[in-house]
């Protein structure tokens, strides 16, 4: 009797697994059919594919946080998938072990697994991969590495450092929300204030807000925090803090760090307040999103992978490439524009000034978080 029960339970589990598997495939098919002909929805490309020879040419090693963080990792991954799908190449993602507490060894292991799995180009996202990348790139000289949010590594011509001028994206977002009429702003950054990309976002945000305040002749307040979010994750504490800010008058918070967005959007939804998204257009995630400070992750990853396949690797290999407005690699989402008092035309004017170099944004953020701004009071929490 017991044996029969055990057998039945095993069967039930197998069936459950099968059922789950088939369920997940459905939505992908549906989106495929109603896709616009011109653009491919990256969501319609499956995250896992099986190549015929068991080798995966384009590999992606994630940063801390989820693959589908609707932000940094996801944007980078979409670039990999889009390029691979368009050119019929095999692709695979690798998440370093121990998730948010991944060590350099865990990241190296993920890169090694990718290289052993037949990768020709490995996209590594996040500045924290530097140490592991230095070791992996030396061990696998035949593989090329694209280091997103990174820098060139000395003596390694197979590493391309791609950095972004986040201060420009932050500036655009800060400028936009103040022009829209918000005067009490907040900034919640991830990485505990040690992540250069987040620091540049934050510094650009307050500069942009200040510039718009000067133009309108008003004074604004900014709450500026690096608390809760050292590992870019959502937490009840972060949600409580953000709810407290909204409760005490803050109108909009720049949620600058992967999954932290969930907590801040939840607090905003409680208080009918607003959020600025980061890295990719996050407006589909929540109705609270007003605009997003975007990096053209997907586009620049495709651009960099193309260099490999077009035989132009030496253009970026061994060098650091900084992408900004001049390369259309930063910006605000104009397709889902929701601002009423500041139009897309106004935005394009500002963006053009940034693009042709007449408007230069200071990227050297103060490491002690002390800002000297004429019309903005920054309260560091």
């Amino acid at each position: 009797m017991k044996k029969i029960i055990a057998l039945l339970m095993v069967l039930a589990m197998v069936l459950a697994v099968v059922a789950c598997g088939s369920k997940t495939e459905k939505p992908a098919e549906e989106t495929k059919t109603d896709d616009k002909p011109a653009t491919v929805d990256p969501e319609s490309i499956p995250d896992t594919m099986t190549s015929a020879d068991g080798k995966y040419e384009i590999a992606f090693v994630t940063d801390v946080g989820q693959l589908k963080d609707k932000s940094f990792n996801q944007g980078t991954w979409e670039g990999c998938k889009l390029y691979a799908a368009a050119n019929n190449l095999s692709y695979k993602y690798y998440q370093p072990a121990n998730a948010d507490k991944a060590t350099d060894d865990d990241r190296y292991d993920a890169m090694k697994a990718a290289a052993d799995g037949g990768a020709k180009v490995i996209v590594c996202a996040g500045f924290m991969q530097g140490n592991a990348l230095a070791k992996a790139a030396a061990d696998f000289p035949q593989v090329n590495f694209i280091f997103i949010d990174g820098w060139p590594l000395e003596g390694l011509n197979n590493v391309a450092g791609i950095a972004y001028q986040e201060e420009q994206a932050g500036y655009l977002a800060g400028y936009a929300v103040v022009m829209e009429g918000y005067t009490k702003l907040g900034f919640c950054g991830g990485g505990g204030g040690t992540n250069p990309a987040c620091c540049r976002y934050g510094y650009g945000f307050v500069q942009g807000a200040n510039a718009a305040a000067v133009e309108k002749g008003i004074n604004i307040d900014v709450k500026y925090s690096w608390q809760y979010g050292a590992s870019f994750s959502a937490s009840p504490e972060l949600q409580t803090m953000a709810a407290g800010w909204y409760e005490s008058g803050t109108e909009i918070i720049f949620a600058c760090g992967g999954s932290m967005f969930s907590s801040i959007a939840a607090a905003a939804a409680e208080n009918d307040a607003k959020v600025v998204g980061v890295d990719v257009d996050q407006s589909p995630e929540s109705d609270t999103v007003v605009t997003s400070a975007m990096k053209g992750l997907s586009a620049s990853v495709q651009w960099a992978i193309a260099k490999q396949y077009e035989g132009k690797w030496e253009e970026i290999g061994g060098k650091g490439t900084s992408l900004g407005a001049a390369n259309d690699a930063v910006g605000l989402p104009t397709e889902t524009w929701s601002l009423k008092n500041w139009s897309v035309a106004d935005y394009e004017k500002l963006f053009a000034a940034m693009k042709n170099g007449t408007l230069v944004i200071d990227a050297n953020y103060p490491t002690d978080n002390v800002f000297t701004l004429s019309n903005a009071t920054v309260e560091v929490i």
């Binding site: 589908k68 937490s235 939804a269 109705d287």
Partner: protein
Amino acid sequence: MSFLISKTLIYAIPLMIVALAGVFAERSGVINLALEGIMIFGAFVGALTINLMQKANTFNIVTIAGDMGANWGKLQLFLLLVMVITAAAGAVFSLLLAFAAINLKADQTIGGTALNMLSPALVCFFIRLIAQQSELRMFKGDAASWFMVKKTMFGFEKSQEIGFLGETFLNKVYLTTYICIILFILLSILLYKTRFGLRLRACGENPQAAASLGINVFKMRYSGVIISGALAGMGGFVYTLTTANCVANGDVAGFGFLALAVMIFGNWKPLSIAGAALLFGLFKCIAASYSTLDINGDGVALLLNLSKDPVWGKVLNPHMYRLIPYVISLLVLAFTSKKSRAPKAEGIPYDKGMR
């Protein structure tokens, strides 16, 4: 002030209900260390149910949410349904513990620990399968925009003042809070004022004596563990709904273990447990929101100013605020543990032959 009270409740309610879950198991004689594991499972089932039902548009739920003003009551019914489902899931999951501890007479501490390890692993496995990532979110919208009760739903304007009580208990609250409070009271009465409760407690003190009076100890212990599992599963869902935007990721931030501490802190008595949970929740809330906390309503965030003061700031800084809930728990336990009295027969498998 009303912000502090409502946020304190949000932290305290899951702790309170899960600590009560612990009481039911332990009062029947089974140590339930698996509270954390059951919470994780309940949170997962809740998030999954909401996600799937949103995706499939069961009961036209998405259409209903689109017209929030008129239909918020229906969404609350939906929420109630999900609570019932998570309670059932928790009860089923706790059967594993009950079977090991009662039928197989296994060591209850080890059984509970095993469940605590099994649950996050199992949940992460299923989330991977279902969502191809390590967390499962709502399919649409935010927890607050779907399920939070706001004063605008009762026909008030957003800027209209509805008095201190109204602001605290009718605005920006979750239905789950009140359900949990009512359940807490009802179950406390069940435990102390009914025949069933007396028998359950007897099985936790001296099961042989209870059996000699014709009480079925197996049945009583099973009931204790199942009630415990149902409450813990629901508590896990309440946790994820109110503090984690309905995201399941195989983690409830240690609330299950905190609830165990609260249960011991409260000396296995419901009233003390409620007090302990509120105290703990209050300090957790202060730690997270000190930067804007304005207790007396004069527009000054006292704790923030203190933390920036050159002298006070050395003692009262953000790190200290975050430490306080734990320090207080330690202190209170140190002073009250002498009086603490666990059920006598807890942790000992029932053996008919032992007298």
